[in-house]
């Protein structure tokens, strides 16, 4: 069967099981947009290419399947670099297809030419420039394989216009041939035995759970391991929901804005069992001072993470699901050692006492007084179905959302952790809702973030993707303001945004959303109730919140996690 390159590309995507793609056409990618009309694949037309990339990420986070985005060459391709970098940092499987000028014009500074494979080399797991239409099925198969296996990540296929127009004989490869890429999901049995021994010997152990557990679809086996060992769990920003917040052994989020118990449990532990986490600086604080007495068992599918920042005593290269299953099996296989394992009841009791003594706290003064953002999040949470997917942007609202929501199911929390991409929330929420149309999707956003990608609400309205947006408008770039207040002597430099400009309600309505404004605590509940009843279009609630509210606890940058500041009183 003869196909054009464009037809072969779309057919290859169909063969990969792609049901939706996010994109925006243009000159170089034009030929590929023609066969889309005849394809069962749904195409969501975005308003900016960055939106397409984040939608693909949101879709991948929510469904576990790779997200697909397609844009044209040059400026469109460079617009999608940010989502690629974001997905690379957070190990999100997305496949991005960019148009490219004809092969004969490459390197001539042709119209809308950008060297996108060169530009994205360091923010993709791999990328391909297709120069022969006969390679298309092979490359698509390889791209999906690379994106979704091992440590997942973004890949890019650059697709020149003449290749799209060329003829090829259709085939579909039965396997991929990548001699340099052989991910190994199984942990080494000797290392697993060594880990089990350490787990039995430790008196102050903690599971330090990262996004790798979610990528490995390992929440259920993690729960089994925790039940078996009674060892408490912290879930990093990327792993919220990987272990239920309402479990008595869940300590919540560690790190710069983690709660006292999670932060201090890591600091004082004698064994960290790091599962798919990577000792990110936002978790460790000053690396030298991080968990100084702890031995480390480190499980990661990416060998380069082991020893990159903290030298593990027991390094285990493997997929978290496979390794956790092996650990559970090894524990069950040795009932005698299990019987004689170290007693951790004192440790668990100490942690419990810290949780009681140092809970997260804020004060909502009175129902008519200034509105606290944390109060809004608690009200949202209490009125939302338990399997609601929460998506956030980056900044104070992100930290409050992570702290005050209760995540009891995996894949209910989507955010930009590693790259910290402002404007992530709205497009990622749209992608999540497309992937999980039956679930409630709340984007919790800040006013700074909202202004970066709000145009995608037009996409949501037209494509009938009814997400809900809680816009916490404190009229500042709040996290920067917080740092300027705390560390720059209250010298506020270029952080004020104005509460009224733009008029968020009018703007949202102009984009086809239902929208209303909430100015005090009294109105919060009814507004949320109203929003929850609207399911035929996107809804945006603008909450006018206290500009001076800061995120606590906080470990200032560059200091040890022992120096945690619990609240404003700690600044004196």
């Amino acid at each position: 069967m003869k196909l054009t390159g464009a037809q072969a590309l779309i057919k290859s995507l169909e063969m990969q099981g792609v049901d939706v793609m996010f994109g925006l056409p243009g000159g170089a990618i034009l030929p590929v947009y023609d066969p889309i009309i005849d394809s069962p694949i749904r195409h969501v037309l975005v308003r900016h290419e960055q939106g397409a990339g984040h939608m693909a990420e949101g879709y991948a986070h929510a469904t576990g399947r790779p997200g697909v985005a397609m844009v044209t060459s040059g400026p469109a391709a460079t617009n999608i670099v940010t989502p690629l970098a974001d997905a690379y940092m957070d190990s999100v499987p997305i496949v991005v297809i960019t148009g490219q000028v004809a092969t004969g014009s490459i390197g001539t500074d042709a119209f809308q030419e950008a060297d996108i494979t060169g530009i994205t080399m360091s923010v993709t797991k791999h990328n391909w420039l297709i120069t022969d239409a006969n390679d298309i099925p092979d490359v698509v198969a390889e791209a999906f394989y690379v994106a979704t296996t091992g440590r997942p990540g973004p890949v890019l296929i650059d697709f020149p216009k003449d290749v799209a127009n060329a003829q090829m004989d259709w085939y579909w490869p039965s396997s991929v041939d990548l001699p340099g890429y052989k991910p190994n999901p199984r942990g080494h049995s000797k290392m697993i035995a060594a880990a089990v021994k350490m787990i039995f010997e430790a008196s102050r152990p903690v599971f330090y759970v990262g996004g790798g557990v979610l990528n490995a679809r390992a929440s259920d086996v993690l729960a089994e391991l925790v039940e078996l060992t009674g060892i408490p769990v912290v879930t990093t920003l990327m792993a919220r929901g990987a272990f239920p917040d309402d479990h008595p052994l869940c300590l919540g989020m560690p790190g710069m804005h983690g709660n006292y118990t999670a932060v201090t449990a890591l600091q004082q532990s004698d064994l960290l069992i790091a599962l798919g986490s990577r000792f990110d600086d936002r978790v460790t604080g000053k690396l030298d001072g991080f968990a100084p007495h702890a031995k480390v068992v480190h499980v990661d599918i990416d060998p380069a993470e082991l020893g990159k920042l903290r030298r593990p005593d027991v390094p285990i290269v493997g997929d978290c699901r496979s390794v956790i299953e092996d650990i559970v099996r090894a524990i069950k296989a040795d009932p005698d050692a299990y019987q004689h394992r170290a007693d951790i009841t004192d440790w668990v009791a100490t942690l419990k006492s810290w949780q009681e003594k140092y809970p997260l706290k804020y004060e909502q003064p009175s129902l008519s007084g200034v509105l606290k953002p944390q109060y809004v999040i608690e009200k949202l949470r209490d009125a939302a179905p338990s399997d609601t997917i929460v998506v956030s942007g980056v900044g104070q609202h992100q930290m409050w959302a992570s702290q005050y929501w209760k995540f009891n199911y995996p894949y209910t929390w989507i955010n930009s952790g590693g790259l910290g991409t402002m404007g992530f929330a709205i497009p990622a929420a749209i992608g999540a809702k497309v992937g999980k149309p039956d679930r409630t999707v709340w984007a919790i956003d800040g006013d700074g973030c909202f202004q970066m990608t709000a145009q995608e609400l037009v996409t949501a309205s037209i494509e009938q993707i009814p997400i809900k947006v809680a816009l916490l408008n404190n009229s500042y770039l709040g996290m920067v303001r917080q740092w300027q207040e705390m560390f720059y002597g209250e010298r506020y430099s270029e952080v004020y945004l104005s509460p009224d400009l733009p008029d968020y309600v009018k703007w949202s309505e102009a984009m086809g959303c239902a929208s209303f404004r909430v100015e005090n605590a009294e109105e919060v509940g009814p507004a949320i109730e109203k929003a929850n009843e609207i399911n035929d279009r996107p809804v945006v609630i603008e909450f006018r919140t206290d500009s001076s509210e800061k995120v606590f606890p906080m470990v200032p940058a560059g200091v040890s996690n022992d120096n945690i500041i619990l609240g404003p009183e700690g600044l004196m």
């Binding site: 060169g118 360091s122 420039l129 340099g180 990416d302 380069a304």
Partner: protein
């Protein structure tokens, strides 16, 4: 020419004697012979802050693959992290770490040196001692070539400089692991003893 120069402190017997070998390590990287592979490797080194001392690329006997010999600065990052990051590149197939004591290394140098009528004989003598060749002759200059282990090339370059070097180009080293000369059993025994 029967008399030729052999470096006094061969890098193979005493790695520390050669220039900076203590902090250098040779990686022999087998890669798929595809467009952009060198760029991927170079970019990885630059992005992660690893330093390269020299780099040589050429196809292997199998046209699907190329071999890249990289001399890395292990002070800039632990060798383990460098090789792990290299392994993450999809086109990288195999990485061999070549300990200078366990490998044969070779480098090529071409240099144009001042060689007027009074110095010409001395230059030719030096080139002969180093098993080199004269590959171009000018009125008052010679272009010479020498190959050998990097130590020898260092010495040759230093001795040439007394005549005045006009231009000099070195290839960077290429290397392969030494061949087995003993049975494994014997080798392990000596290894333990050493």
């Amino acid at each position: 020419m029967s008399i030729s120069y052999i470096p006094g402190n061969g890098s193979s017997s005493d790695p520390s004697a050669s220039l900076g070998v203590m902090h250098h390590h040779v990686l022999s990287v087998l890669v798929e012979n595809r467009a952009g592979v060198l760029a991927r490797i170079a970019q990885l080194f630059s992005r992660r802050g690893y330093n390269i001392f020299s780099l040589a690329v050429a196809p292997t006997d199998d046209s699907r693959f190329s071999r890249i010999t990289i001399v890395v600065d292990v002070d800039s990052a632990p060798l383990e992290q460098i090789t792990k990051q290299l392994h993450k590149l999809i086109n990288v197939i195999k990485i061999s770490e070549l300990d200078p004591a366990e490998s044969v290394e070779c480098e090529l140098l071409v240099a144009t040196v001042n060689a007027d009528i009074s110095a010409r004989g001395h230059v030719m003598e030096l080139v002969a001692l180093f098993d080199g060749k004269i590959i171009d002759v000018g009125i008052d200059k010679l272009t010479v070539l020498a190959t050998g282990e990097p130590n020898k090339i260092d010495d040759f370059s230093e001795l040439l400089s007394s005549f005045g070097i006009v231009e000099l180009q070195r290839t960077g080293r290429v290397a392969l692991a030494k061949l087995e000369r003993q049975s494994n059993k014997l080798k392990n025994t000596t290894g333990r003893a050493g």
